[in-house]
Subunit: 294 residues, 2 copies
């Protein structure tokens, strides 16, 4: 049974565990604060991998940022990680094989391999959190693009210079409407400057009209994005993950989107894996690669 | 040298010629009016193929409509072709191997194999005509989706129920802004009810302000679509083909789009092949398939 050490590297926490080819955790997940320097991050990964070297077949890393086709280095933007982290020589972290992959891609691969998109050949896994990320599966392969940056969910979905996207800096961008941040902006617009997305969700339960309007607007823009993804990719399934996924009215949104597409109907599902999808997906990508080579 | 008979099936004309593996035409292209019935179309294809049977290795067909993964049958919508055409048993048209592919996909494959996207692994070929079509190449493969319908360029790009798309029936759709039909609508909006896209193009040459405004609006929406495609696919190149492609200000549009994307810069190019791209691409797809099998 192939086993790998898998890391999930975030701006505030780094999580890791050993994972087998069935996606099972072989120990409890360990979480530590992300070191403040790139050298600190490298040291942490190296020392941890070294300590487990005789128990593992490789090291998998799920991270922010675009990752090259070979799964060896970061090619761009890594958000709130320490300066210099982009230059990390991941392959040198262990004597065992190392694979690094973008976190949204890793999470998508987990859902495709063992989760809500299992058995599909074409799937989009959208992560709806502070921002919006996507892992896209085309004919059983991860969509990477020329520099590994494919799947950026930033595109104009409105006009009139509405909002400015935190992610891409552009107005009218999908992310600024369909993310948790987008729902928060709707809260301000419909419920007052002090209101937040939490007030929207609570208001929904209390049948508050303003909360309903704020939420419907959020779902309308999400639906617009799903129409685009369904028409462009013709996927069997679109999976929603991330902190916002549990609030989506799946039947309603799915019916609205499927009524407006030219391709064949898709199924809208909630993700199976939660916060650990990235660790699992990166582990499975590495294990697939190891098996393919042997 | 492998040679195939290749058809381009349109609502008004059917064109055909023999094409070799270098994409060369081995005879002058023959054009005939599209028969009024599906049986008439089948008869035309069958008789033509039969007459050339001893000179060809297979029959390729570029057509409207989504085509299945195997390249054997149409799975949906074929626009203005005769009723019943969708049910055509293409494989039965000849004793030689037959391959059918969607026209936008075929045109995309021609540009990818021998045209403006040659040497790329990830490319989008947009056809800007009455509507907008796309052939999308992902890591050297044609993007097909679960039912062969992927690449439908229909997605909301605005709000406020502006326009209704002829292709998908929805308001605010990309096609209704970035197609030739879209430019025509801009002509009405900026230059009066009698004006057409031809007046816009002529007005541009005469530095007419209203024509410039109508054209800039058209290019702005095209740019929005390019931003989406670049962020989603991270392609090396986006190629523009179709009747509108020659009017695009490539440097201006490319600079505007590349300034707003999160992925690495893409190159914007005009297509090499014109009206015959579909015939060439379908022929090359079949020849690739024949070689792969032997």
């Amino acid at each position: 049974m192939t086993k790998v050490l898998s890391f999930d590297i975030g701006g505030t926490k780094i999580a890791y565990a050993m994972i087998d080819e069935g996606g099972n955790f072989l120990n409890e997940i360990i979480k530590v604060s992300t070191p403040k320097t790139a050298a600190g991050v490298v040291e942490l990964l190296k020392t941890t991998a070294k300590g487990l070297e005789d128990k593992i077949d490789g090291v998998a890393i799920s991270t922010a940022g675009a990752v090259d086709q070979e799964g060896t280095r970061i090619t761009s933007y890594t958000g709130n990680l320490p300066e210099g982290y982009n230059q990390t020589d991941f392959v040198a972290l262990s004597t065992k094989p190392v694979l690094v992959e973008n976190d949204a891609n890793s999470a998508g691969w987990a859902e495709f391999s063992l989760g809500a998109a299992k058995g599909c050949r074409n799937a989009v896994i959208l992560t709806l959190g502070t921002g919006v990320g996507a892992g896209i599966i085309v004919d059983g392969h991860l969509l990477k693009g020329k520099s590994g940056a494919a799947g950026e969910m930033h595109f104009p979905i409105d006009s009139g210079n509405k909002r400015i996207c935190n992610g891409c800096g552009q107005p009218d961008c999908f992310e600024s409407f369909a993310s948790g941040t987008g729902l928060n902006t709707n809260a301000h617009e419909y419920m007052g400057a002090e209101a937040t997305s939490y007030d929207v969700i609570r208001g929904l339960r209390e049948s508050d009209h303003q909360a309903r309007a704020a939420f419907d607007k959020w779902q309308d823009y999400l639906t617009k994005g799903l129409i685009m993804l369904a028409n462009i990719f013709d996927p069997e399934v679109i999976v929603l993950s991330g902190s916002m996924a549990k609030f989506v009215e799946y039947d309603k949104v799915s019916t609205a989107a499927n009524a407006k597409i030219l391709t064949q109907p898709f199924v809208l599902k909630e993700a199976v894996f939660e916060n650990n999808a990235g660790m699992i997906g990166a582990a499975l990508l590495l294990i697939d690669k190891l098996k393919h080579k042997s």
